[in-house]
Symmetry: C2
Subunit: 86 residues, 2 copies
């Protein structure tokens, strides 16, 4: 593996892992009052574009980071829609 | 400009702009109870590594996105330390 990909995968681990407590907290408390649907949607579209970018430049670490972050954002959007109605 | 950089800069705009309401809200309410210092620090280190990665692969859009996100994360860490003591 390329040296730069080691930096990339470390970056990917740190930035995606920092998101997980938010996902867990939202799932656990069902408190979605602090989450904004337009912002989450904007963020998700941005991450999807980064994923396209990552595929284009053939960056394995960016692809991994963005796929995981798409998953996290999707979950937060799902929680927001699901628990907002209560 | 490269076509892929247009996608990159759009992604950069969307993902960095989605952060700003959080920074504004924290500044405005001074409520940092929901922010975790270890997580913010982890995220900041991750973003710094992405910036190194971006310089290495000569990606203008990634450099821009990460510089702005470093600024946002830095502000949140500053607020967390400043307002936590009150």
């Amino acid at each position: 593996m390329d040296h730069i990909e080691i930096i990339g995968f470390t970056a990917a681990f740190l930035t995606t892992a920092a998101f997980l407590p938010q996902v867990y907290k939202t799932w656990n408390t069902k408190d979605v009052s602090g989450l904004s649907l337009p912002m989450l949607s904007m963020f998700l579209i941005g991450i999807i574009l980064w994923l396209i970018y990552a595929f284009y430049i053939h960056s394995p670490s960016m692809i991994a980071a963005n796929v995981i972050t798409i998953g996290s954002s999707f979950l937060l959007i799902y929680f927001k829609i699901k628990y907002n109605k209560r």
